[in-house]
Symmetry: D2
Subunit: 400 residues, 4 copies
């Protein structure tokens, strides 16, 4: 499919493409061989032979073969077995796994990489938002509800709310990332095949997970897709947070409002026909992503709800493109948002002037009169900013 | 809208209807008056007057007024102020709150009630599934993947997987339930108005939360909707789990398979035209619910992503019906599922006979020959059952 | 479920509630008896007895019975048979139908009523938009793309685009309305049962359709749900059109822009805390609806895609609430939008002043200089307005 | 994104990828130059120079430039202008268009190609289904409703229902295809810029459409997205139809039912671990696609509902990946389905035997006794088959 229609896709380059997937699937097969060898199902030499065969190898799989198999695992296993010349070693490759074990584990690996990237980008965005919240802790601006003037707020509080949403999302992404599980069940989730060659299949599964840096779950999740839906939910939550930020920037950056602007970057935001126009491109793209994430996450739940039998007849297949796309757009949106907030220009003077001009509206609620200085009716705004900044400081420390 | 088209809706009767909502909104207003009185914003007598006015009162709100206000809070506040005769007390009602504070908090109260009910039903279902998993720990049956025979499994493992999914969901629902927050921000999320009448608005907010049995969050979440989306995600996860169970029961209960059947209940499952037919009604209804939950949860994310300004211009409004419907169908599906598994008839003999008949397929994977007894190729099935039952026992103990 | 959370729901009162559904189902049963009597399956006296029994009768169905049956048809048929004293006549009631025949047909009847209402409201809205387009054919305003100033447009063109979208939607709704089909297939879509009592079941089906004012399709559509998905698609298209209008009104009505405003209506748009605030309630509510329709229509497609066997095991059930809700919110949004545009206040002076102030931006594209009057760079704006008005006039004439 | 996770994606190769998109965008720019030259905005030589510059040229666009512009049009226009050496000609390239004109038109071109392919594949599938319906017009089989035995049907009727759904979809796709519009509005939908260089911009737009084989709409549809949503709705309807077929094949092909089977193809449907297994791969993949289409189509409606201002701030961008993906999966699913039904093996003997065995259930509804031959209780089954076949024959003739 056309990458040109996901502007910014290059920010996720190499993370989620076919080559990365093949590499992850090979890592899974290698880890399995090593796990077998460490738990009595193969010799160390055999595992090493598999590892050597896979090292630095990037096979191109035939798409017809992929369709015939219904997924890319069988063609890859066939190719890997051919590459491992020794038939005894070849027989060990993938022995006891099912294709879903490999693909699910590989996708968790890719998700882990993508989540790492997302969290880094969110961290950058959070740092910039914390600076904005601190700097504009007392920058008064008009509060707007249902599009109309409400009471005064501060730009610091606005930034703090954006920041709090990102901290929420980052926390949940962190939980998900720490719990990414390996998939290991064999043909129908019983580990029957591997049980025939190792004394303790649970030990094999544990070694498998350890080699991949994934969690060893208590039992297979071929048809119990919480690892996938929770990942999707956390990504959607992330996009929700970024989408609100972007939508607010778009509103506040309308020329009639003019309270913020995307940073000027040479060559960015130009129009194909209007020479002097500067479009808020990053905010537009992030806003567009936020309109897509809910459907993609819903796709994962729907697939989860249809995960029937011991392994399903279409639901699993329906997960893949949605999961990859959701990971990709979240990586891209997180990076675009980080750049957006780092470059954001805040026109505190415009905010102040507008608040003063609209004071009659903004202070209409105040008991005892409608006039006065909007900055004297900010309630707990600063305390709220401080609470978010405290949380930010604590969580940043926790991360180190 | 027609309740007749949500068969089983009576199982959630009284939890999520207009009367419950009005009651919850009144509780919120009463709690606010008490919180004001405890933190310096009103006298105890004034708070008591509000409480008396609300006690046992069920006003019918005019739908035209609700539309004019855009939500039911303003008409309710107006009615409550009228009912509180004393103008000084009337002025205290709702003082410092915005309509979103009241409605968000009220919906969290309703959600708390509904989550309690859902968890009770899931607990009943889990108990029945634990019995089935234990009883059928060694009941061999054909494993089926992509609709075709795979390797043997046990019915105990099948039930254990259903159970594990329910435990996952119940855990997450529990997390959500423990963190249901009060909403308390005033007109634009700054607590400005209440700050003008109490010395420490944070203390007022804390008291408010305490009276309602909700959590006091660090700052308002008018436009940071994680409390709503996390609730929706957990409900969708629950429906996913129930949907898999129902879909599997439907497949295994097809007449050509006949390995399980819904319990016979007089008058249930009849056809309007075929006298001897027994439809698996509960499974059908739960399956239908599982097809609805993903879209409803997606609706909440979409609304979250559009929660702009200090309070949004349609996104908040778009949450309400989806949230209520999702809560309702999850209550109903949890209850139907509990009844379904409690009554489930398991035909272990049919399972065994089929596994024997299909042994050539089921054992084709086994190294060294395809014949033999399927029950000898179960791998870690029993260990997996035991792991889930251990978890079940532990979590049940935790709950007491 | 709480109606209070669908502000404006009273605008659809009586169209889509339980009473309307029961009435429609009774009409279906009566029409069937008459069709039988006219085509050799019953006597005229028997049909008249059924009709008498149903006339003016509004049974309350037991929700437990509805759940046991999986839908409300069987309880209704049972009650109707009891009410028809004569056992021979009772046996004729529903003879040859399946519950899906009755419920699908009844929902098509309700849809027909709702579509009629929607088209009336759209017609009112279209008339108002046509007036606005005509009146403001040359009212220059700033064009805005990606939130920034582009080239000048006219408010007439903006209104004409809104109008064109409504004409598109109304046209499609009209197509759907004219093709609403009766459902008539019997237990598994073969008309076997009725074939045993009438000589020509197709004639019976045709008479059945004629009595209900529905189309007689070539064959049953129990599991071929195009009538439902096309209805849903047309409703979503309608809500898309109304949503754009509402979103534009919300933007143009922001206080910093101030080019339009919702008409002032006493008691509407008040805030629960800010005395002088006027919220654009209608636009907010319509905007909220537009965020809901896509998921509801998707629900119908999803159900369609899962309509397996001769009649499905959950997918059909998953249609009902989404279909009713989508009909309801479209009726409400169409009515709210009609009222919104009829009352819309257009500040042509503000538009003009802004266009003049922003002329440097608005005219930057123009070859040969950036200054001048925005009104001289309107391209085909007026021709486009005229084209839409011509279409409006033609289609209005067609409708009479 | 990984193509390996859309098994069968090679069936749409070249239709919807970056190269095809760039080619289509160049066609649009060339067509525009020609349209200008034919209507007074350029000389024939200038248009020919643009055409020469674009002929056989496949520029690689820099993804950073694409992001900076927010879409791939501006980078392409810049590159094309550079390639056209003569500055006067370069200035003509894209003169009067906006990027949305180019991208929308290019996507309509791609959609036209894809729709052509889909209709061809549906035609092949329809032909095979017509053969099956005819051949099995009287092949009795058990009818199944809510998973349980209902009354007898024929396999011919089952195939005829699948066929009717495909004919419905093909008809709607045909309507959409015939009405694919060009986009032509300039910066804000007024054609202002081109109006400055040609006497009759409508004539230019008409010529533009003619060169591209698209329809010239009455006015631009930058923010009135019915052309996109109707396309999406028709594609979803197509996937619904294919999904039902696939789901039914999966059920009927379960080993315990065994009434149909996917045709055996060497190397297809193998398992990575179970040597003798044959997975119904095509049906599984089509079923998986049907679970994805509804969300993708909903994405288009959601974007439509958010198409604000004169050109929107994220909604348009949110359309692209969903539209491309939906086109792609529909092409793939249509091709897989055609192959599936052409190769389908129908076990009429198994159907007959089962119907006989289940006769007591299948005939329970019949007045006057439950025994007998299921083939004598088929009602209008054959007439329904004939009606669908007649429609098929007529529409096939219409197509030639």
């Amino acid at each position: 499919m056309a990458d040109l229609l996901v502007p910014g896709a290059h920010r996720a380059r190499g993370l989620l493409d076919d080559a990365a997937l093949v590499r992850a699937m090979l890592s899974v097969e290698v880890a399995w061989s090593r796990a077998l060898s460490e738990t009595g199902g193969a010799t160390a030499a055999q595992a090493a032979a598999v590892e050597r065969a896979a090292a630095g190898w990037s096979p191109l799989l035939d798409p017809g073969d992929v369709e015939d198999a219904g997924n890319p695992v069988l063609p890859l296993v066939t190719a890997l077995r051919e590459r491992v010349a020794d038939p005894e070693v070849a027989a060990l490759v993938h022995a006891g796994l099912t294709s879903q074990d490999v693909l699910d584990s590989a996708l968790q690996l890719l998700a882990g990489e993508a989540l790492g990237r997302i969290r880094t980008e969110l961290g950058q965005g959070a740092a910039a938002l914390a600076r904005l919240a601190r700097e504009h802790r007392s920058t008064v601006m008009a509060g707007r509800t249902l599009t109309q003037y409400a009471v005064p707020v501060t730009f610091g509080l606005t930034a703090a709310q954006w920041l709090a949403a990102i901290l929420d999302a980052a926390e949940r992404l962190g939980d998900v990332r720490r719990s990414l599980p390996v998939q290991c069940g064999g043909a129908a989730g019983t580990l029957a095949r591997v049980s025939a060659v190792v004394p303790d299949p649970a030990a094999t599964a544990a070694a498998f997970a350890r080699h991949l840096g994934l969690r060893a779950p208590a039992l297979p999740w071929h048809v119990r897709r919480t690892p996938v839906t929770r990942l999707g939910d956390a990504l959607a939550e992330t996009c929700d947070a970024l989408g609100v930020l972007a939508a607010d920037v778009l509103t506040l950056g309308r020329p009639e409002i003019g309270e913020v602007a995307e940073g000027a970057v040479a060559g960015r935001g130009g129009s194909s026909t209007m020479p002097h126009k500067r479009n808020p491109v990053l905010a537009v793209l992030v806003n567009g992503t936020a309109l897509q994430a809910p459907q993609l996450a819903a796709q994962l739940h729907l697939a989860a709800a249809r995960s029937v039998d011991q392994r399903p007849d279409g639901a699993w297949q329906a997960e893949w493109p949605a999961l990859l796309r959701l990971l990709e757009v979240t990586v891209v949106a997180a990076a675009q948002s980080a750049e957006l907030v780092r470059g954001l220009r805040v026109h505190a003077d415009v905010m102040r002037r507008r608040a003063d001009d609209a004071a009659a509206h903004l202070l209409a609620e105040r008991p005892g009169g409608t006039g006065g200085d909007p900055a004297t009716y900010l309630g707990a705004s600063e305390a709220f900013v401080d609470a978010v900044l405290r949380r930010y400081d604590e969580e940043r420390t926790d991360d180190t």
